[in-house]
């Protein structure tokens, strides 16, 4: 029972003991366990995709009042669980079309870079109590830096396709990504200020009261900016499925398209885990101290919840135009994020963190956030009323 209660850590320790008992030198044991852990950690998102794509398709279908994958297809499997596997196999068997005038190296490397970046950021996320790939002191900064590497992949895909429309889509995508990095980084900075460290392990450990309760406005800012980073409706002009076919990866077919598709989903998974870790407390939950492996279970529950929220946004709101997307960022989200940082810095210093009584700081932060939200709504209402009045005066 004790072994089961901290399952994953105990499996790692057992493996290490096994290797030492074979007689390998210490350095080799370390390298093998680390490499094995890295391999498994890289496999986790790839295999989780099989379930999560099915999850998304079921939710999308129910929102649209239809059934989604179910067992009436030949390969559907019970409840349509094998549908994703069938799709993956289908993608492997498609012909790999490369445009004649495309730059072959750039064209072929782009999906690899995209997928690599989606996988590489998993190294720093605490997946449970004591389970983390690498407790970097720059944890969240590492994730943000590699997020900017995705821009390079998109640029390579758009340029390497030798297609004007793909290039335009790629440039718009990069414009969106660069713009929405600012409110994203600023809202993450607010979390880092309150938690006191970049390291994700310490951010989770400092959430005696989850940050969603203390900083709801920051969480909302983060959610909106990552919706744009993911390229999800309503901010997905880059890859508008029904209008631009596929945006910057229109020329890709077969498994390379599969890698882009998979990379996008893994970005969604990554972003959900990031939100759960930063704002929902990661692996924290009831009974985690007694049964540490429950931490991973709680993380999965929170992750599924956040993906649900993201998909609600995605499948119920219409698409925005590119100038509306950029205007939303530069005229609304960035000033709000800056004000948010200033206010949270002031309140966080004025009401210091008291481990005996964490609700004091949380309450103060919550009050500051609510006041800011009311101020924003008030400003928007006044501005809207003025715009309507000037429009009425102008048209009459």
């Amino acid at each position: 029972m004790d072994f089961l209660s901290d399952l994953i850590v105990n499996i790692g320790l057992w493996l290490q003991d096994l290797l030492v008992s074979i007689g390998l030198p210490d350095a080799w044991v370390r390298i093998i366990t680390l490499a094995g852990g890295a391999f498994i950690l890289a496999l986790v998102p790839l295999t989780a995709m099989f379930f999560l794509i099915w999850y998304e398709r079921k939710i999308v279908a129910r929102i649209a009042d239809r059934l989604g994958p179910n067992n009436t297809g030949a390969y559907g499997g019970p409840y349509g669980l094998f549908q994703v596997l069938a799709d993956a196999v289908k993608m492997f068997t498609k012909e790999d079309v490369i445009p004649a005038a495309a730059d072959r190296w750039i064209f072929n490397i782009a999906p690899m870079v995209f997928l690599a970046i989606a996988v590489v950021v998993w190294a720093v996320i605490p997946l449970g109590k004591g389970i983390v790939g690498s407790d970097l002191s720059i944890g969240i900064f590492y994730i943000l830096s590699f997020g900017s590497g995705a821009m390079v992949a998109i640029l390579m895909a758009g340029w390497g396709s030798n297609n004007k429309y793909a290039l335009l889509g790629a440039l718009r995508g990069i414009a969106t990504l660069i713009s929405y990095e600012i409110p994203q980084v600023l809202s993450v900075t607010a979390v880092v200020m309150v938690a006191g460290s970049f390291s994700l392990v310490e951010i989770v450990e400092s959430q005696n009261v989850i940050f969603l309760i203390g900083m709801p406005l920051t969480a909302l800012l983060f959610l909106l900016s990552i919706l744009a980073e993911l390229g999800r409706r309503p901010l997905d002009l880059v890859e508008a499925d029904s209008e631009l076919v596929a945006g910057y990866f229109v020329e890709y077919s077969g498994m390379k398209f599969g890698m882009f598709y998979l990379g996008e989903f893994m970005n969604q998974l990554m972003v959900s885990i990031l939100f759960s870790t930063l704002f929902l407390g990661g692996w924290r939950g009831p009974f985690v101290d007694q049964v540490p492996v429950l931490g991973t279970v709680w993380l999965v529950v929170k992750l599924l919840l956040v993906m649900l929220v993201i998909q609600f946004f995605q499948y119920s709101l219409p698409r925005l135009r590119i100038d509306q997307i950029l205007a939303l960022n530069w005229k609304f989200l960035t000033p709000l994020a800056l004000v948010n940082i200033c206010v949270i810095a002031l309140v966080g210093k004025a009401v210091p963190y008291d481990p005996a009584n964490p609700w004091v700081q949380t309450g103060a932060l919550l009050l500051a956030n609510v006041l800011m939200a009311l101020a924003v709504v008030g400003i928007l209402a006044v501005a809207g009323r003025q715009m309507r009045r000037s429009k009425l005066a102008g048209s009459s």
């Binding site: 730059d103 002191s137 720059i138 900064f141 900017s148 590497g149 390079v152 640029l155």
Partner: protein, 165 residues
């Protein structure tokens, strides 16, 4: 030949190989992409020097900002990416006359001195030290930050005054 030596050779090869490709490619876009590879190698070298924050900043700013800016500038310059217009560099003799002695002087300087110095102490939490150094009241960074806030205020004031109504 420890693991760190191997990593240093790998990252150094990535940096130098990328840099070599940057200056020898005909296609400017390929050169820009190799520059991104070179920056990635430099980030790896920063990690080996135990400066993880600098490595992250390198990725964030150089690859995610400056390289994208350079690529946009390349794309917006007329005829820069036209493969028919790339000509030969007709001044390579003069360049070689300048560069070869300069290279020889640099190599002689580097190889004739003993650069051995003990590595300095690395704080184990470099981000904490960096953050404290940025706001240290007895330090030197705070006056610069205050001056930059003043400049920002002046900039906003100038834009407001000069704005067209």
């Amino acid at each position: 030949m420890t693991f760190q030596h191997v990593l240093f050779i790998v990252f150094g090869a990535i940096t130098l190989g990328g840099a070599l490709m940057v200056v020898t490619r005909r296609n400017v876009f390929n050169a820009a992409l190799f520059m991104i590879l070179s920056f990635f190698g430099v980030a790896g070298l920063y990690v080996l020097l135990e400066a993880p924050f600098l490595a992250g900043v390198q990725l964030f700013i150089y690859i995610g900002g400056i390289s994208i800016l350079i690529i946009f500038a390349i794309m917006l310059t007329r005829d820069m990416m036209n493969p028919d217009l790339i000509g030969r560099n007709s001044q390579w003799i003069a360049a070689a006359v300048v560069m070869v002695p300069l290279c020889a002087i640099l190599i002689w300087t580097v190889s004739s001195h003993d650069w051995a110095a003990a590595p300095g102490p690395v704080p184990e939490n470099s981000i904490l030290t960096l953050g404290q150094a940025l706001v240290d009241q007895e330090g030197l960074a705070l006056p610069f930050e205050v001056a930059s806030v003043l400049l920002l205020v002046a900039l906003i004031g100038a834009v407001t005054i000069a704005r067209e109504r």
